[in-house]
Amino acid sequence: MPVVQEMENALVRMLDDLERALQKPPSERRWGMVIDLSKCVACDACTVSCKAENKTPPGVNYTVVLKEEVGTYPNVREVFLPRPCMHCENPPCVDVCPVGATYQTEEGVVVIDYDVCIGCRYCITACPYGARTFDFGEWYTEGTPALASYETAPTFEYGEERVRTDGVSPEGNVRKCHFCLHRLHEGLLPACINDCIGRARYFGDLNDPDSLVSEMLRERYSFRLKEELGTRPKVFYLS
């Protein structure tokens, strides 16, 4: 099968999986991500699509691509590791929140209630993956004649329409990847999944044995980051 067609099929398949999952009660879904490292070229399309989708300010990153050079010249290769939030089954960030502002939804997604978070940043210290960042209230286009529209346009995180304003949440809050819950509930895949140029990222319901992600995890060898900490991430890597 031609590569392009295979990729398209994966996309269609994931959308079908999503639709099926949305017909179940939320507590029966378990969203998860599979990232095929052999396909990642570190183009950062996921990083950028996440920024565009969630309009995150400078320093706030929900997903990034770690790049490392291994070996010495001329025997060198680069390894890439896209890192969204792991949406751990046992998330250490949730336990430490003094006000319960960050919690796991029925669907297993670790979220933050922007209107409750006091901005103490304890959860950032507790995350073993550096997946949480603090909104310091900075702007990309601050100091230019006007803030660019991509910074002032409303966002739809958690299904709430918000226009970022100085001193108002989510400024002063901790922010993180939420698997684009607001898109999922509209039957859309997370932005990073949609925009991955090499189809290295896959998404779906881990509780559904027929979903693409379940199938991939069944058929290929996968690993998770820092397994020894017992966090049980729902982001799986294929090598």
Partner: protein, 415 residues
């Protein structure tokens, strides 16, 4: 009290300057939020968190020393017991102001009361502080009530404040004093487990974070308790040795000597704990355990560890308090106490910053193109100014209380 007038004036000038800087810092903080802060996405906690655990430590330490007298009846330290209680109150205030300004949403602090998550050590801490704060106020009032009643007759500010603080009480009878002492003993006794819980809890707040190997140690709550006693003991020793009104008396000499011994013992115990923590981790040579320690010992701020923590925190006090040419001289005992008090700022900074400076995943710093994603943290002017202002406020309140409230070190017979 016969203190040097020039010194008193200098003290108030310094406090005033600190408050001016603090006002600038406060203006920046309230106008620009966290934008002028230099803590970032990797080192998310900075100077203010370090100052918070520093002053909380002073408070817990001072309180536990007061409890030696009020709860355990160690009359030896009676002359400084009230001062210790008062020190605990002011330090707590300074600590809580620091952590309040560190919040992203200061106005939401009440949520820790209205919707606490008791799985979080931080929620526990806030609740325990609240109990501790109330206990301190009540204990202090019962301990000083009769003095307020007596001082009510004084002219001027002292009398006015005392009249206010009697809360209407006029009873000077021996039986009422006996009741007061009973209440103080009960509260002092309840305070001991409370102080152990909240300050051990601050240690646990760090200790439970398994994502940060340098914090994730069972020793952490214990080190916090010992170091609280060291810093609190050092501060009280310095104040008593350098400022006590009965300087020159035999009683003063011998109490200074005993305080020196107490601090020496605590410094050595703390050094032992810290050595255990460092040596075990270094020997194990697991990169994640070693990196934060090396960051403290050999990083850009190596001198905070070697000169501050080891030099001023251990070597100077051990020499001054151990050597019999200096440990009988109240001046040097006081200097040893001050040395410890300053060193512990470094200890606290090294607890907070180096463990956060190690990225959780390799390549994380390079992956995020942001000046805030950096392994180097130097507090910004806003952070320094606001912190200096809060400390200035504490110093001002402390000096006012020292002069207007019945807290001055007393001779044992009076007490």
């Amino acid at each position: 009290m016969k203190t040097n007038k020039g010194l008193t004036l200098a003290y108030w000038v310094i406090v005033a300057l600190m408050l001016v800087l603090g006002a600038i810092g406060l203006y920046w903080r309230l106008t620009f939020g966290h934008r002028l802060a230099n803590y970032g996405q990797l080192i998310v906690w900075g100077l203010w968190v370090a100052m918070y655990i520093y002053f909380i430590g002073l408070s817990a330490g001072a309180f536990l020393i007061s409890a030696l007298v009020y709860a355990f009846g160690v009359e030896r330290f009676r002359p400084i017991a009230r001062l210790a209680l008062f020190t605990a109150l002011v330090s707590l205030l300074v600590a809580l102001l620091h952590i309040w300004f560190d919040l992203g949403h200061m106005a939401r602090f009440y949520e820790v009361y209205t919707r606490p998550n008791f799985l979080s050590m931080m929620a526990w801490m806030v609740w325990l502080y609240t109990g501790y704060f109330i206990l301190l106020l009540v204990e202090f009032w019962f301990e000083t009530r009769q003095d307020f009643v007596r001082w009510s007759k004084e002219p001027g500010l002292t009398g006015a404040i005392s009249r206010l603080l009697t809360l209407g009480s006029k009873d000077l009878s021996a039986s009422s004093r006996a009741r007061d002492e009973k209440v103080v003993k009960v509260l002092g006794t309840i305070g001991v487990p409370l102080a152990v819980m909240f300050h051990g809890g601050v240690g646990a707040l760090f200790g439970v974070v398994s994502a940060r190997p340098a914090w994730h140690s069972g020793l952490f709550p214990l080190i916090f308790l010992v170091s609280a006693l060291v810093s609190g003991g050092g501060l009280l020793t310095a104040i008593y040795a350098l400022l006590a009104p009965n300087r020159g008396t035999a009683e003063y000499q011998s109490l200074v000597r005993d305080l020196g011994k107490l601090v020496l013992g605590l410094v050595l115990l703390d050094a032992l704990f810290t050595f255990a923590e460092y040596s075990i981790a270094l020997y194990g040579s697991i990169p994640g355990d070693v990196a934060p320690l090396l960051a403290a010992m050999t990083g850009p701020f190596w001198y905070v560890f070697w000169i501050g923590q080891v030099g001023l925190g251990v070597v100077v006090p051990v020499v001054l308090l151990g050597w019999n040419r200096t440990n009988r001289n109240p001046f040097w005992v006081g200097v040893a106490g001050l040395s410890v008090v300053f060193a512990f700022v470094g200890v606290r900074l090294n607890i907070v910053v180096p463990p956060l400076s190690v990225p959780e995943l390799r390549g994380l710093v390079q992956a995020v193109p942001s000046a805030r994603m950096t392994t180097l943290y130097v507090p910004g002017a806003m952070e320094w100014f606001l912190s200096i202002g809060i400390i200035g406020l504490g110093m001002g309140l402390y000096a006012l209380g020292y002069n207007l409230l019945p807290v001055k070190p007393q001779a044992a017979k009076e007490a």
